[in-house]
């Protein structure tokens, strides 16, 4: 009996991402924080679709008669993972360009808007 412990674990992951976004200054660490929040949300989506005693929704060599977990959250999490990857690549590209321009990755020092 584990209760709602998986949900709590996902929320702890999201809270760690918030902590990173609030208290870190390095741009790469901020990107890592966004990635933590994405991972927590993806885990939460998959955990919402779990059925007690369920097997994966794949019929190849599946045990007969066992309940299957919900497939729709898994499919949409697949979409979410790819979109998160795209945004992470874009953010890292911006970080590289900012470092090339300003010579620093500190978010406090690159706040001004002059080029």
């Amino acid at each position: 009996m584990i209760g709602n412990l998986p949900f709590v674990a996902c929320m702890v992951l999201i809270a760690l991402g918030f902590w990173t976004l609030l208290f870190k200054r390095n741009l790469v660490k901020l990107v890592i924080g966004v990635g933590l929040i994405e991972s927590g949300v993806n885990l939460f989506l998959v955990a919402l679709g779990y059925v007690r005693g369920g097997v994966p929704p794949i019929y190849t060599y599946a045990p007969a008669g066992a309940p299957m977990v919900l497939p729709t959250p898994q499919a949409l999490t697949l979409t979410s993972i790819v979109i998160g990857l795209a945004t992470t690549a874009l953010m890292l590209a911006f970080a590289v360009v900012i470092y090339r321009h300003k010579g620093t990755l500190d978010a406090r020092k690159i706040r001004e808007l002059r080029g």
Partner: protein, 88 residues
Amino acid sequence: MSRWVMLLAFAVAAGFLIFGAVAVRPFGDPPRAEMDGYFNRFSQPEVAANNAVTAIVFDYRGYDTLGEATVLFTAVTGVALILRRWRA
């Protein structure tokens, strides 16, 4: 000073998240599963695929995958545009 404000905001947000996770609903007991039951039951007769997740991704929700491919293409184009311009 601002650090304490941020700590308070973080504590409120984290407490809200944890409380929501405890109070949302029991783990492993989805309240409404008709649509997913349909997908699990008919992914083999309708789509002829053993993997229900692949059947959803490429058949029932194909538009979603089309948009996802568009997002990936746009991201690659953006990275190429950003990283090509300031070539040293």
